[in-house]
């Protein structure tokens, strides 16, 4: 019998702890498959964040490090500088990357650090129970913006990909989404490309993945995917934001 689908060996057998319908699980699989297809399991070091993905070190079947909140790009830098032949990636939420870790991601990007960042943007702090993130949409209700995010009071969401794309360091920055199959396939392509460029030594690569948090958005998984498509994509347009010309 032909094998139609197999679980990638880059994921362990540990059951994921994510909420039902959370798209963190899909993104894990895309990252794992990309690394598997590139045949780099024995070279890969992943850096887990503080956030819902904190246990990523239990799921990715490769050497892993767990970083302090927001510091994954600095940890990845130290690791990559020691063994430049390793394929090093961070997996970070939007609170982790765009708020407390804004300095670390910016400087890793501008240094052209030869690492890959998987940036999971779900417009909210998932793990701590749904507080406002720097990426929370104007008007969006969270547990610390109970009347909706008031931009006069606490400013506007950060478009991290566009911001980092203004720097000269990055080799590749793209924003993708996982709200339907078509977009999941495109997300996979972008992730694989980012790793491929790292393997070729091209420099900093980041894929921002728009992701759902049905639990803290207070929606069913289906409603959450629809909300993502209708509200997040207009605020965070998909596409390649930066691609260094091949030298």
């Amino acid at each position: 019998m032909a094998v139609v689908y197999e679980k990638t060996k880059l994921l362990t057998d540990k059951p994921l702890h994510y909420c039902p319908g959370c798209t963190h699980g899909i993104i894990h699989r895309l990252v794992a498959e990309a690394l598997d297809e590139l045949g780099v399991q024995d070279k890969t070091i992943g850096v887990a964040p503080v956030g819902c993905a904190v246990f990523a070190y239990d799921y990715f079947n490769c050497d892993m490090m767990e970083a302090a909140h927001g510091r994954a790009p600095a940890v990845a830098t130290g690791c990559k500088r020691v063994n430049p032949n390793n394929v090093v990636f961070t997996y970070q939420g939007d609170g982790d990357l765009a708020s407390i870790g804004a300095a670390e991601i910016t400087h890793a990007a501008t240094r052209g650090e030869n690492i890959t960042v998987i940036f999971v943007n779900n417009a909210i702090y998932g793990m701590t129970g749904g507080q406002m993130a720097p990426t929370t949409l104007p008007g969006q209700v969270t547990t610390t913006s109970p009347y909706g995010r008031d931009t006069n009071h606490c400013g506007y969401p950060i478009r991290v990909s566009e911001m980092l794309a203004t720097l000269d360091g990055p080799a590749y920055i793209a924003r993708v989404s996982v709200h339907d199959v078509k977009h999941i396939m495109e997300a996979k392509k972008a992730i694989k490309k980012a790793f491929q460029l790292q393997i070729e030594g091209k420099g900093f690569t980041m894929v921002e993945v728009l992701s759902s948090c049905p639990t803290n958005w207070g929606m069913t998984p289906q409603e959450a995917l629809k909300w993502l498509q209708e509200n997040m994509i207009p605020q965070y347009p998909l596409g390649v934001k930066k691609e260094k010309e091949a030298e």
Binding site: K9, Q41, D42, K43, T44, I45, V47, V54, Y57, D58, N61, C62, D63, M64, M65, E66, A67, A68, R71, A74, V75, A76, T77, G78, C79, K80, R81, V82, N83, N86, A103, E104, T106, H107
Partner: protein, 357 residues
């Protein structure tokens, strides 16, 4: 032993680290330790496999140290008080994940931005862990440039031996002072292999998958982990405690001082001996573990102790714990970046001698 060279403390520490096989340095500028990153930036690119990287902050620097140590490298960072405060979160993670590294603190006056002059006011922070959680670090306090070189090299071995960060704590003076030094020929002792490092893994490669981590979500597992850490600290307390004693055998008055202050205290002790007052000196070299033994021994016969520090009195607590009420423990300190003088210490002991009569 190499030749004698005239070197600044900070530069000597940097060279000593390279000689001891340190190939990765991550730092951020702050006075009075700038000669360490500057020296590293000059030397590392000329050393095979060497990497100096100026981080965007002390926070980033210590997390780069975490990543490099987690990948199995010998790695160092240095800073001064305000920067060391910023590193505390990272140091706590490094301890939790049991990673070896060397951290240098050239202490300056505080609190806040304080001053750029030498101080010893980070003693509590250094010897009680510093960051959050239950932990200790080995703290080595050189009192000369030569000793700074030797302790820096030993720091790397101790860090690897215990899989724990080691803090070399100097003060502005130790860092800025020029003294003749001999760079010892570094011989690496037998150390356990870093089979735990994250360097790339696949099934059947001969080791377990590496997970560099300080998260133990199950309280009973975390308690077990902390007990394991403290079992290491118990060994350090037994085996790594270092100090220097001078003229304590017959001393009536024992001065306890470390680092730069110990040099001044030594001169004061000699002056006092000339004047017929039996003074002695105990100089802790490890601030943690604290050398209780020589202090307890001296408490048997001495009349009183004087702790001298460039702070409002921090190590004096440890001296009092060691003396345990047996004898009076006095304190003399200057703070804010002011260094106590020989005369001031002599006067303190003379007053104590008068009172004791």
């Amino acid at each position: 032993m190499g030749q004698k060279m005239l070197m600044k403390g900070n530069e000597a520490i940097a060279e000593a680290a390279i000689q001891a096989g340190c190939r990765f340095f991550f730092g951020y500028p702050i006075t009075p330790q700038n000669q360490i990153p500057e020296y590293m930036s000059k030397r590392m690119p000329k050393v095979e496999g060497g990497c100096f990287l100026q981080a965007e902050s002390e926070v980033a620097a210590i997390n780069m140290v975490y990543g490099a140590a987690g990948a199995g490298a010998r790695v160092m960072t240095s800073s001064s008080s305000p920067g060391i405060s910023l590193k505390q979160e990272g140091i706590s993670y490094i301890v939790g994940a049991e990673l070896p590294c060397v951290i240098v603190n050239m202490v300056r006056g505080g609190p806040g931005l304080g001053s750029i002059q030498p101080a010893q006011s980070d003693y509590y922070q250094s010897t009680r862990g510093g960051g959050h959680g239950d932990y200790r670090m080995l703290v080595l306090a050189p009192s000369s440039v030569q000793e700074a070189v030797e302790l820096t090299q030993q720091a790397f071995d101790l860090a690897d031996k215990y899989r724990n960060p080691v803090l070399v704590m100097g003060d502005g003076l130790i860092g800025q002072m020029m003294e003749p030094v001999e760079m010892p020929e570094y011989v690496k002792p037998e150390l356990p292999e870093k089979t735990w490092a994250a360097t790339g893994w696949k099934p059947g490669c001969g080791r377990e998958r590496a997970v560099i981590n300080s998260l133990y979500i199950d309280p009973s597992v975390l308690e077990q982990h902390n007990r394991k850490l403290f079992a290491k600290y118990a060994v350090m307390e037994r085996e790594e405690c270092r100090w220097q004693e001078e003229m304590t055998d017959d001393a009536d008055f024992v001065i306890v001082a470390y680092g730069t202050t110990a040099r001044i205290a030594r001169s004061a002790m000699r002056k006092l001996r000339d004047k017929g007052i039996k003074a002695g000196l105990i100089r802790p070299i490890t601030l943690w573990p604290f050398p209780n033994a020589p202090i307890q021994k001296a408490a048997e016969h001495a009349k009183a102790f004087l702790t001298v520090e460039m702070s409002m009195g921090q190590m004096v607590d440890d001296v009092r714990l060691a003396v345990n009420g047996k004898k009076p423990v006095e304190f003399y300190g200057r703070t804010g970046g002011i260094v106590p003088t020989v005369r001031e210490i002599v006067e303190q002991i003379e007053n104590m001698a008068k009172e004791a009569k």
